[in-house]
Symmetry: C2
Subunit: 416 residues, 2 copies
């Protein structure tokens, strides 16, 4: 008998038909003797509908009231799922975030969980009752309804699993696990049976979008065993999904590369001919940070004759604003001969924990790209990741070439 | 400066455009210096949508979970109205039933209010903040979300007015007050400036539908000054609506008849040739009560030769079930020669507190109907009401004839 926390996202509960499927899946685990705490999102489209109503009344609605409105989405789902389970003859009981109680700080629309009271859930579980909890929401110390921000239901699931010391936290989504890369681009992309926490972090932040980054960080911090599964498969069948692990396993023939992530929503900015003196990077990025613009990759080339070129990437939506900020600041804290922006770029990243102990991965990557005449505009590396910025039009080609070059279609461990 | 509780129903907040109009109206009272507690229903259609989702999953959903789902309707509206008021530069704060806290018993879907904590509301009002409260809902002692049942938002408004000892409870609806009868049937029907609590009770229970009966009873118990107004008039204009009073005013030229109510959703059942002996009515109605069917009018004629005819009315939806129950029971606790049902009937009632001190009202009513050849099938009287059952096809004619006969189109007090 295991204590399992399951989290179902908006598309998994997007209609009463799908809610009934979710109930069937839960019932199967219940019949196996597992204790279940189920976290659900709002039915797909519902949160957007609610936020749109608020926006019709005010361009920038008060966050406290926005949370009051938005939190209803999950509240509807918990009631409906409890009803669906009861219709199958099972005992089920729903809880809002405030009812559980999931105590958060008061940062409305992006609150952080401070504490979870497990008393009511433990009592229900001991009585054979399936516990259903509204994701994405909590309550602050003054009793105000809070939300954890977009995708916060994953975090709710992981936090509940941590609070209950659950055996596993299963995140059900519309894909059946984490893949070596996007199967829409590389048909041979393979589902990974397991992936390390660090790799998952890189995959998620690079746009794999299977899990919210914050929930993965949270799982890592509390050593929650996290598994990504599909809610769209036959509810009477168990598929293994992808397990996210937090320790490298000694007996594992560790793959060098786990997957290839990519992102096409970045833009590159280059400041040409800036002075090559200490503090210049801080001056440039300081003006960007002051405007609340997030920077991803940063590259500075070694300059000649006291001048250098300085490049970085931002979210593509921020390109125009970033250029405005820089041009306004140019001549004050820094001086650039020219400032150019390029939105037609893409980032491709090799991710793999095994990379740490294997040399030559970078050169193999660059050669594979060069063989296809794909020019690399920027490079950034970390312990378990190598990212390159290339012309956007080569994105699919680059991903396919790298997937083949590192033989990712083959099962893990086969590659030496 | 007055403390006013305003309640807006579902059609009044049925769109963001209408919510903005409600906010404009509230703002006007606020500018006058009034302190405001505003109770709102779910946006029109929303409660039905939510209940339909639950019904798709289970024919008879668990009431606790149904309340969890249904309560979200009002929660959305409180947040949106607060946002609309804030967009106008006013201070506003929303509260769910649980947040206020409106403590109820645990009778889910038809809970009764036990206690209201006014601390948070008083604090807000003192700070010049407009308080917005979700109608229709509360919380039980264990923290479960409860609802007061259909139309419960009126009751919420009155209960809050009582708890706060408000100067007035204004119920905004889609009509601008209580009329002498339905203006769709009698175009000359006149809005009443005031109506007594007892008359209103009779008007409401007879289908005038302006206010929920329970809320009127509640207002009477706690002497809450209740006013019915329209939310569809220009929000910048004050219309007097209809005031519901609890004392007869001495200086008032009291009208004999306040209005004519009617109802077409009843059915008549007659048991012919039952024994005329003590206990027979109890035996018949006992079987009906045991089946949980509500009975409205009851008439027993004086019989001849030890037998009598016994008639009563039930809700039209219950006719078939009532006949089944009676036929099943016939020959056991009572014996009827024949049991017949008639769904094509209507009830028409004269209502007026002045009726008590004026003889001849009944005969004048019966004569007016007889003059039009309208046959009276059943008669029932109370201190302030005379009801007759007639063939449904004469309903409109009867209402018009009586309205004219008692000169209800003229202002109150003119009729002697």
């Amino acid at each position: 008998m295991a204590l399992i926390v399951q989290k179902y996202g908006g598309t998994s509960v997007g209609s009463t038909e799908r809610i009934r499927n979710v109930a069937r899946r839960i019932a199967r685990f219940h019949r196996q003797g597992d204790q279940l705490v189920v976290v659900v999102s709002a039915m797909s489209g519902e949160t957007n509908r609610l936020l749109a109503l608020a926006k019709e009344l005010c361009e920038a609605p008060d966050p406290r009231e926005l949370d009051v409105v938005a939190a209803t989405g999950e509240q509807v789902t918990i009631g409906l799922l409890a009803i669906a389970l009861q219709a199958m003859g099972l005992k089920a009981r729903s809880y809002t975030g405030a009812q559980v109680r999931i105590l958060t700080d008061s940062a409305h629309t992006k609150a952080r969980i401070l504490e979870i009271d497990d008393a009511a859930m433990r009592r229900d579980l001991a009585a054979g009752t399936i516990v259903i909890v509204a994701g994405f929401q909590g309550v602050d110390a003054e009793g105000n309804i809070t939300t954890l921000g977009r995708g916060g239901s994953d975090t709710s699931g992981v936090a509940l699993a941590a609070a209950l010391a659950a055996d596993e936290c299963q995140i059900y989504t519309d894909v059946d696990g984490v893949y070596t890369t996007d199967p829409r681009i590389v048909p041979e992309a393979r589902r990974l049976d397991r992936i390390t926490f660090e790799e998952m972090l890189e995959m998620a932040s690079l746009g794999s979008k299977v899990l919210q980054i914050r929930s993965v960080e949270f799982a890592g911090k509390y050593k929650v065993k996290l598994r990504v599964l599909s809610s769209f498969e036959d509810p009477d069948v168990t598929s293994p999904g992808t397990l996210i692990t937090f320790e490298e396993q000694e007996d594992m023939e560790q793959a060098i590369i786990s997957g290839i992530a990519f992102q096409r929503d970045e833009a590159k900015i280059t400041l040409m001919g800036v002075e090559d003196r200490p503090g210049i990077a801080a001056a440039i990025l300081g003006s960007i940070a002051a405007a609340n613009i997030d920077v991803d990759m940063i590259v500075q080339n070694i300059g000649a004759s006291g001048h250098t070129d300085f490049s970085f990437t931002v979210n593509r939506n921020e390109l125009a604003r970033t250029l405005d900020v820089l041009k306004g600041e140019n001549g004050k804290s820094f001086r650039a001969r020219e400032i150019v922006g390029d939105a037609r770029i893409a980032k491709v990243s090799l991710v793999g924990i095994g990379m740490r102990s294997h040399v030559g991965i970078a050169s193999r990557m660059f050669k594979a790209l060069a063989d296809e005449n794909i020019n690399i505009q920027m490079i950034s590396t970390s312990e378990i990741k190598i990212s390159v910025i290339i012309d956007e039009k080569y994105l699919e080609l680059a991903v396919r070439v790298l997937h083949r070059s590192f033989e990712l279609e083959k099962a893990q461990g086969e590659l030496v």
